[in-house]
Point group: C2
Chain length 219, copies 2
DNA sequence: TTACCAATCTTGACAGCGGTAAGTTAGGGG
DNA sequence: CCCCTAACTTACCGCTGTCAAGATTGGTAA
């Protein structure tokens, strides 16, 4: 094998050098190309130019690899959310901007977003990747921090910040998830503008929720 | 084979008679037992007592089988939602009841719910199962119908019913999805009541959204 | 009744997947 | 310079979805 010229052409070194990061970043590309189905360890390894067993030197599992990808996704999302409100000061505008940015991130990276919120249903599995939990919490922290600053600036009423954050998170996550899975058209059977009306619907529902959370609950 | 007494004991007939329905209903059980991972056609077939290739006489694909299961799930959900408000007349109570029922359904059938909202990301795949689309639309119809009656009774303001429905659907779906995937604890780091506070958070956010949608948007 | 047909189910095979074990390569510290 | 250890390859295993070919039956027509 050491004399195989073809292999020599493709890869100069036996040791890759940075396989772990290469796998994660290539996985991000592969994920959006092939979708969450069809995502194969062997395919990924071939793309990076290593054998199908090489990833096991850096990841215990396929799930561990996917968890690392999801962590990268949450970091991307966090940065995306914070960038969206960087040069905005008006509380309501910050709120809408971040909400729209959240949904936008999901639309632009549907397979990644789906992976990030994949079930990992077993309680055992949930505790397997603490970094994943942290990365998710950091993304939620961006949202929560924005709401916190809204409260401190007197825009929203005090109290129950955690509940507010959860409600807003659930709302934008629900919007994103429904749009990604194609239920948006199902809901709005208005044979109209399409994307334009979807943006309007998102803005409307975001503002509706904000308005309701701003003021004390009636019932 | 026709003389094998063991097989004779287990199954009396060569032809199952109602294999299609048996597969779907057994799949519903198997799904909650094993989770969406670990769900295997061969396992399912063995449980029903047929060979591993028998399902292909009734379903083109594993995805087709799963689609049928998802259809059954949506029918279950629709019935669940309608039952929840059957003997209630107060608009706000209907709203909260149905919202809580929606979330409750997801919590009680997490794997099924996840399957129902699984990506089927490819646009081609999305159009493959029209009954699935219809069943999903029917579930949304229960929600939308409830909102419609709220409007007709003068409780909510007129207009943009589709947008309202989508916003409410997104909200309850987001709540359900986050709870199922274990993000609820991540958001509420309040080391308190747990389930009790989650129910309170759900109710609060539902009422918040309702309040915001009831009244004209300020911004 | 009998013969046959089409649907249903079984058996056996295939490629591709995730994962493991044993051997190979090579960079880096003694 | 050697060798040790991490990184990587090769070969293999069991399992999966899927397909093709044959066996089995209920029902239909003669």
């Amino acid at each position: 094998m050491k004399n195989c010229p073809v292999v020599r052409l493709i890869k100069q070194t036996y040791h890759h050098g940075d396989l772990r990061n290469a796998l994660v970043s290539e996985a991000l590309k592969l994920l959006e190309q092939e979708g969450a189905e069809g995502f194969t360890l062997r395919d990924l390894a071939a793309r990076v130019g290593v054998s199908h067993a090489a990833p096991y030197a850096h990841f215990e599992d396929k799930n561990a690899l996917l968890a690392a990808v999801a962590v990268a996704g949450f970091q991307k999302l966090t940065a995306y959310l914070e960038t969206a409100i960087k040069d905005k000061s008006d509380p309501a505008e910050q709120y809408v901007r971040m909400g729209e940015a959240y949904v936008c991130f999901g639309i632009e990276n549907p397979a990644l977003y789906t992976l990030m919120f994949a079930s990992e249903e077993l309680p055992e599995q949930r505790d397997r990747f603490p970094e994943l939990k942290e990365a998710g919490a950091a993304a939620f922290g961006a949202l929560s921090g924005m709401l916190d600053s809204m409260q401190q600036s007197g825009f929203m009423r005090q109290g129950e910040l955690d509940g507010f954050g959860f409600a807003v998170w659930a709302h934008v996550h629900g919007l994103t998830s429904l749009i990604i899975t194609g239920r948006a058209e199902c809901a709005g059977d208005c044979a109209g503008a399409g994307i334009g009306s979807a943006e309007e619907a998102i803005r409307m529902s975001l503002l509706g929720l904000l308005h309701g959370l701003k003021n004390p609950t009636t019932a």
